[in-house]
């Protein structure tokens, strides 16, 4: 663990990733203190300053009802991170469980679980989410559900593939010969060997979940106003391009920073943890 941290901080690119992600997390956590206009996260109207470009007062300009964009982006980070964390916190255990059992047990369990996984994988992710959101109400909770439903199968696949190859290792035979239970072999012996790949994928996925969630709200299917969300901000601003460019450019850059940061760390972790699958 300490070695990982040291290596992470030595490479300039992964260092940049750490800085970007730290910046995003800190601004989300401390939004109440950093944001110049904390009340602008909600339904506030300020017609004196509406739709203005960057100024000393509003460094990233204001939106169509006069709210400070910078403040809203800080709060939007909160939503993005929350979404990412919740989605991965649900999708990863489900996928891991399915993948471990299918990969280790083989036979009918493998067939059933992996065909189910394939069904989910065969539907383009955004289409699945859109279909779900069409049935459900567009709320933050449902957006999380929809993204989770399309995310777990990727973990199932990943863990399944690793388990299949680990199953052939001598240490698994050793545990089986001693007579360890299936639960012990899968969770105590095999799972620790999947963790590097899982952690790497989770880091990379934080970025992707943020993008997908933003895409959903871009389509009006995600987080609803007045809650600030990077995707909806880009969507709304896109109608006023190129004149009111700041409405799109700054939220867009914010997405880029978050996604790029997580990707840099993920790439570095892949190398350090040797999780090249």
């Amino acid at each position: 663990m300490r070695r990982t941290t040291v290596i992470l901080l030595r490479n300039p690119l992964s260092m940049l990733g750490v800085v970007l992600v730290a910046a995003v997390v800190i601004s989300a956590a401390l939004a109440d203190y950093i944001a110049p206009f904390p009340e602008h996260r909600g339904a506030v109207v300020d017609f004196v300053h509406f739709n203005q470009g960057p100024t000393a007062r509003n460094v990233m300009g204001t939106d169509l009802v006069g709210r400070d964009l910078f403040s809203r982006i800080l709060y939007a980070f909160r939503i993005s991170l929350l979404l990412g964390v919740v989605v991965l916190a649900i999708a990863t255990p489900i996928g891991t469980f399915v993948g471990l059992l299918a990969g280790y047990l083989g036979g009918r369990a493998e067939f059933a679980l992996m065909r189910l996984t394939d069904v989910f994988l065969s539907i383009p992710p955004l289409v699945l989410a859109i279909a779900m959101m069409g049935v459900l109400e567009p709320t933050l909770l449902n957006a999380m559900l929809a993204v989770t439903a399309m995310w777990w199968p990727w973990y199932a696949r990943l863990v399944y593939n690793i388990t299949r190859s680990e199953r052939e290792e001598g240490y698994v035979l050793a545990a089986e010969v001693i007579g360890a239970s299936t639960l012990h072999v899968t969770f105590r012996e095999i799972l620790p060997n999947c963790l590097p790949a899982i952690i790497t994928k989770m880091t990379l996925d934080m970025g992707f979940v943020i993008i997908i969630a933003s895409s959903l709200s871009f389509l009006g299917l995600g987080v609803q106003p007045p809650t600030p969300d990077l995707g909806s901000m880009v969507a709304e601003g896109a109608r006023y391009l190129p004149d009111s460019w700041w409405l799109t450019v700054f939220p867009g850059l914010a997405i880029l920073v978050a996604v790029f940061g997580f990707n840099l760390i993920g790439d570095a972790l892949r190398e350090i943890l040797g999780a090249d699958q």
Binding site: E169, G170, Y171, L173, A174, V177, I178, G179, H184, P192
Partner: protein, 268 residues
């Protein structure tokens, strides 16, 4: 006295129909208490398949395997599992890279309920000391050990289960010759002090010569010849055994002479 392990007409076929592989064909032999039986053969001759059947990893297709006078059931009891232990060829892969050496050794103690719970770490340390490693190695990860040390840990893991029969599947094939020599001495000493029986699987006849009481020569799943080690190396019956002996690399003229006289002009 009944032999400790006894195989009667044991066969194993993988798959069925035209693609069936007959990995072990009608094999019978015994291993008595305290004996080291070497199983020799080239790759694919069915040695590991044989080991797996004795261990109960899978059942035999036909025939009977008896242990201590009673037929081994296909679902092994706890007692049988602890009595028959395994040491594998590849020392690195046989230890979980993500678990400490001690945790790997302790698994058997927990499963078989050996010793009191609070006592088990001490038992783990004893097992390590028995194979010539310091007890505090239990905290180490396998990656921090050399190949020979890993193999000692694997031996300690098997011994901690208090077995009566240990199956050694090419235990020194992946080791350097200096390390091999030490591990061979260790295994030999443990067998004598603990009264263990070994099924020593290997393709190296010069190792066999020095550790085994009896030798079973396998070829394509069949038992070609089974005899006392002395008899095999003084008067090999089967041509195949002669060929195997003729292919052993030797380092002294003395050995060379013996080899030439045994392989009896057969093409190497």
């Amino acid at each position: 006295m009944t032999p400790l392990l006894s195989l009667r007409h044991v066969s194993k076929t993988f798959g069925s129909g035209p693609r069936a592989v007959r990995a072990v064909r009608d094999v019978s032999f015994d291993v008595s208490r305290g004996e080291c039986l070497a199983v020799v053969g080239e790759s694919g001759s069915g040695k590991t398949t044989l080991a797996n059947m004795i261990l109960g990893v899978f059942g035999q297709s036909s025939g009977e395997i008896r242990f201590d006078g009673r037929a081994l059931p296909s679902r092994r009891t706890l007692e049988h599992r602890s009595a028959i232990q395994l040491v594998q060829q590849n020392p690195l892969s046989s230890l979980n890279p993500k678990r400490s050496v001690g945790a790997s050794i302790r698994l058997g103690l927990d499963v078989f309920g050996i010793g009191r719970r609070s006592d088990r770490w001490r038992l783990v340390e004893n097992a390590l000391e028995e194979v010539g490693l310091p007890g505090d190695f239990r905290r180490r990860a396998p990656a921090a050990l050399s190949g020979g040390q890993c193999q000692r840990v694997a031996i300690a893991r098997a011994l901690a289960c208090q077995p009566r029969l240990v199956i050694l599947d090419e235990p020194t094939s992946a080791l350097d010759v200096l390390v091999q020599a030490r591990v061979l001495r260790l295994l030999d000493g443990l067998r004598r002090t603990k009264g263990l029986s070994y099924v020593f699987i290997t393709h190296d006849l010069s190792v066999v010569r020095n550790v085994a009481d009896r030798v079973a020569v396998f070829r394509s799943g069949e038992l070609v010849e089974c005899a006392e080690t002395g008899a095999i190396f003084e008067n090999p019956r089967a041509d195949y055994t002669r060929r195997l002996i003729g292919a052993v690399p030797v380092i002294t003229d003395h050995e060379l002479k013996l080899r030439e006289s045994l392989s009896g002009g057969l093409p190497a």
